[in-house]
């Protein structure tokens, strides 16, 4: 920090010469975010404050914090925070300023929660983060808007276009967003409540955050944006009103606080209100006074916080009702604190007096308030009065009066090093107070030049301006303030009676919990976690969007006529009508008999059979074959699973729910019908001619469907067998180790359980059906068939062996690791594809030629055949793995003695 201060001072001469030092590293220039820094008078002033006081804080903290603490965390957070503050005051790119702005929100969160074991610290930290971080988000929006209005995120450019910005229709929005940022950070009413609770932080943190930094970021923003955003009536109304309210309210509450740090916290709120009010007045003199008071407040408030910390440290309490007479036990600290408090009250010859006089002068001289309108001077005087009152109270209650008997520790002077930072600051209080022009004059002038767009008024920093109205106001404020102090106990009584607890951290936590509760009930309402509900939403959503698309787009051609195409409609033949009737019966019966599961499966398979027939009827033998064989396997699996499901399904849904589902289902059906009819009655243009023409010359097969599957779109087929293999793997992973109770079965002798007749019949059939499978496989490329159907046929044949001989019988004979079989099948298919790499062709490029095996005569061998072999193996592997796994579910209870370890199945 000291090094940073030194380097800032090295650049200082340039700033005093009137130049602005710019430094830039591109970060995300296209989107306005650049690491661009500037050092002008305002930045320099703040840099000196941040780093100067920062050094003193570190020195102080070294003696304040117990050595046992996690000091790394403290110093890292503090340094990060100081870095963030510096970034704010030095940013040229205003988005970068927001970046640093939020860095301070975050690091202050960590600092306030330093004593995280205490619930108060945790909640207060979150509250501070919520308020200042939230304000930062508003600021972000404001910055982005401002950047788009001004055409740049560079402050120099924005400053140059200030007039355009103020004339822009978006100006009020931008202003309000910026002010939200500034007011939250600077704890302006009604966002002030986070600050007093941030006192949960250790005192060095409070001393830093609430004097020179954090809260000053807000008023810095006002100063920085003063040339751009100020000067309008809107600015005046909002900023000065909020500032005035905060100024008086903070001062009033400060008087009521018994906690030393609480008093100082509200005094900070009040002084920040004062600074805000000054910026809001829109006059150059007031702006200069604001900048001056920023400096003065930082100096005396830091020293007061540190003094409070010393008192806390040495007495063990911060409650002013429990202390007194400390002047006698720690006189040097007392003198320091009294001087600083005097500055806070605005006692002449101390720095606080100077800026307060400037404030009073600005209040009196404001053009908006002529002699008749005294509201501003009156507000100023009232605020000053409370300031005097709480300052006097601070001094009196702590250092004078009777020392109470029950102080937790016997107070004595702190170590000299701990007091040194306070001494340095109080020396500054006096230095500035006595020699204002010499000490801060030049710095204030360059800072004011950065704030004020036009000519800077001549700044006359003098202790004595003669007898005038401001001086009279000071006198009145002092008189009333002391009077107020003597009557303070009445106020306390009033306060006790009407305690306003809305701003406590507990209230924040209650608010947060409330939000959580509301969200939870909202979520419970909209998200019932029920699959049926989600499905209803999904189907309804599809229908709504579909109908909407039709409604908006179909208007041109007439809604209904878009659904009917120009093609002539064909005659219905008797067979089709019959098939239709069967399908209708099957589908509806499946629904009706869904609770009688075996019946439902039968009706479903009837429906499926009609679909297969339809495929056949419309010249798709491959499809019919596939559909049929898939159907068989599916039904077997379904029936195998049936016995593990409860005999009585769960309760029926209510009638209204069934009605709702029925309406939805009907609507879906109507939608599909309409779209299907629209499609069937329209001619279309297709790319399929290419496939017909190239199947034989390019793909080496005459069955175009099969050539598409293994060649034109072989990649789809590869994906399809990957899906199959994964389904098998998935059910293997799911069921492995799972045992289920089936329905009670009568114990049967092994011989009886597997009908011998069937077994005897099946065994010779196996080679035969495998031969059929091979035949289907081989002819697939030219005539309907292929690897998939062959695989299913073989799998069904093997499946029948299971049914006939039992799982154990079959698996003992097969001795196959199905997972590995799946791997091999997929591997063959993949390798076939990769093989074409060696010919310089892309994946799955086929090649074919003729071989002349003895039996089949001329036979065309395509590389696609190897691919089909992979398909074949995957299909077998999948079906058999599924069967054995489902069958094995019960093996534990039927064949193996109870408790036998599960067989290792890879």
């Amino acid at each position: 920090m000291a090094a940073g201060l030194a380097s800032a001072l090295v650049l200082a001469p340039e700033v005093f010469a009137g130049t602005t030092v710019l430094w830039r590293v591109a970060w995300l220039p296209e989107w306005g975010l650049d690491f661009a820094l500037r050092l002008d008078g305002l930045g320099l002033l703040f840099t000196i404050l941040i780093l100067g006081i920062g050094v003193l804080i570190v020195l102080y903290a070294a003696y304040y914090l117990p050595k046992t603490d996690d000091l790394h965390r403290f110093y890292i957070s503090l340094l990060g925070f100081a870095g963030g503050m510096l970034g704010i005051v030095l940013a040229e790119n205003i988005v970068l300023m927001v970046v640093f702005w939020e860095v301070t929100s975050l690091t202050s969160f960590l600092l306030i929660a330093y004593k995280y074991q205490e619930v108060e610290a945790r909640i207060s930290a979150r509250m501070a983060l919520a308020v200042t971080g939230g304000g930062g988000l508003a600021l972000l929006a404001g910055v982005l808007l401002l950047g788009s209005v001004a055409g740049s995120f560079d402050f120099s450019v924005i400053e140059a276009r200030a007039g355009d910005v103020r004339a822009d229709p978006l100006y009020p929005v931008i202003l309000i967003l910026f002010l939200l940022g500034a007011f939250t950070k600077s704890a302006q009413f009604p966002f002030h409540f986070w600050l007093p609770h941030a006192m949960a932080a250790p005192t060095p943190v409070s001393a830093y955050l609430h004097s020179a930094t954090m809260v000053k970021a807000g008023v810095f923003l006002l100063a920085r944006m003063y040339p751009v955003l100020a000067g309008t009536d809107l600015w005046f109304v909002i900023v000065s009103t909020v500032g005035a309210i905060t100024f008086v309210y903070g001062a009033y509450v400060a008087l009521l606080k018994h906690d030393l740090k609480g008093l100082l916290a509200y005094s900070t709120v009040s002084h920040l209100g004062l600074i805000t009010l000054l910026f809001g007045l829109n006059t150059p003199l007031a702006a200069v006074a604001a900048v001056f008071h920023i400096v003065n407040h930082a100096i005396f408030k830091a020293s007061l916080f540190m003094a409070a910390g010393i008192i806390d440290h040495e007495t063990g309490t911060r409650d002013m009702r429990r202390m007194g007479g400390l002047f006698y036990s720690m006189p040097r600290t007392a003198v320091l604190a009294i001087l600083a408090a005097g500055s806070m009250a605005g006692v002449p010859l101390l720095n606080g007096f100077l800026s307060k006089e400037m404030f009073f002068t600005a209040a009196v001289a404001h053009p908006g308030f002529d002699g008749a309108n005294l509201i501003l001077p009156v507000v100023a005087t009232i605020g000053g009065m409370f300031a005097v009152a709480y300052s006097v109270r601070f001094v009196w209650d702590v250092f004078f009066g009777q020392p109470p008997q029950d102080m937790p520790k016997t107070p004595h002077e702190p170590p000299g090093w701990m007091r040194l930072p306070v001494e340095i600051l109080v020396a500054l209080v006096l230095f500035v107070g006595f020699l204002p022009q010499f000490s801060v004059g030049p710095l204030l002038t360059v800072a004011a030049e950065a704030v004020l767009p036009g000519a800077v008024p001549e700044i006359k920093l003098a202790i004595w301006h003669g007898f005038n109205l401001p001086l009279a106001m000071t006198v009145v404020a002092f008189g009333l303030g002391v009077f107020q102090f003597t009557r303070r106990h009445k106020l306390y009584a009033l306060q006790e009676r009407y305690t306003w607890r809305l701003t406590s951290p507990v209230a924040f936590e209650r608010f947060y919990r409330g939000a959580t509760r509301v969200s939870t009930s909202v979520m419970a309402l909209v998200d019932s976690r029920s699959l049926q509900r989600n499905l209803v939403l999904f189907f309804s959503f599809v229908l709504v969007l579909g109908v909407w698309a039709w409604w908006t787009t179909g208007r041109a051609a007439g809604w209904v006529s878009t659904l009917t195409g120009p093609l002539p409609v064909g005659e219905v033949d008797l067979a089709s009508a019959f098939a239709f009737a069967v399908l209708l019966f099957g589908a509806v019966s499946t629904v009706v008999y869904r609770r009688n599961r075996v019946m439902a499966v039968i009706f479903m398979s009837v429906t499926g059979a009609v679909v297969s027939l339809a495929f056949l009827r419309f010249h798709a033998p491959d499809l019919a074959l596939t559909q049929l064989s898939v159907e068989v396997v599916t039904i077997v699996l379904l029936l195998m699973c049936l016995r593990y499901l409860p005999e009585t399904p769960v309760a029926q849904s209510t009638g209204s729910r069934r009605l709702r589902d029925g309406v939805l289902a009907t609507a879906a059906g109507v939608g599909v019908s309409a779209m299907a009819y629209a499609m069937l009655t329209r001619p279309y243009e297709t790319i399929a001619g290419y496939h017909m023409a190239n199947a034989k010359p390019g793909g080496g097969g005459t069955n175009v469907v099969n050539v598409i599957l293994v060649d034109f779109r072989g990649y789809d087929t590869l994906g399809e067998i990957v899906v199959l293999a994964m389904a098998a793997l998935g059910l293997h992973a799911l069921l492995s180790g799972t045992r289920m109770q089936g329905p009670p079965t009568v114990a049967l002798a092994k011989a009886d359980r597997y009908p011998i007749m069937l077994a005897e019949l099946m065994r010779p059939l196996l080679p035969l059906s495998l031969a059929v499978a091979v035949y289907i496989f081989l002819r697939g490329h030219n005539l309907p068939g292929g690897g998939f159907i062959a695989g299913l046929v073989a799998a069904v044949a093997l499946m029948l062996q299971y049914v006939a001989g039992g799982v154990d019988f079959a698996s003992e004979r097969l001795r196959l690791n199905y997972v590995r079989l799946l791997g091999v099948g997929l591997g063959i298919a993949t390798l076939t594809g990769v093989a074409s790499f060696w010919f310089g062709a892309s994946f799955l490029t086929s090649t074919h030629g003729y071989v002349y095996p003895p039996v089949i005569d001329k036979f065309e061998l395509a590389s696609a055949m190897a691919f089909d072999l992979g398909v074949f193996l995957v299909v077998i592997g999948t079906v058999l793995l599924a069967m054995t796994e489902i069958a094995a579910l019960r093996r534990g209870e039927t064949t193996a003695p109870a408790g036998a370890p599960a067989k290792d199945r890879g």
């Binding site: 049926q532 239709f580 898939v630 199959l724 059910l731």
Partner: protein, 109 residues
Amino acid sequence: MEVLVSVALGVLTATGVYLILRPTTFSVVLGLTLLSYAVNALIFFGSRLNAGAPPLSVAGLSNQTDPLPQALVLTAIVIGFGMTAYLLVVALKAKAESGTDHVDAGETR
């Protein structure tokens, strides 16, 4: 004929959707199967109804059916089969874990 086919597809869809919305896992499996019949047939009839011979690339044949929808349906059937088998087993697993065949597996609402 077009009307007949369209209505058939609609009926399959409606019964399928209705069953999918039932609370038992087994009904859902049935429903998805019926829905997949509808979907497969819809894709298939992308080649329209009045086309002629099977799509064999043999000299002399003309006016063949569009082969592409058939290939797509084959892929869809196989994928549907894999998915059905898997869903069935997930349902079994949920039954094994929860003891109920409700689709929400006994979650309290």
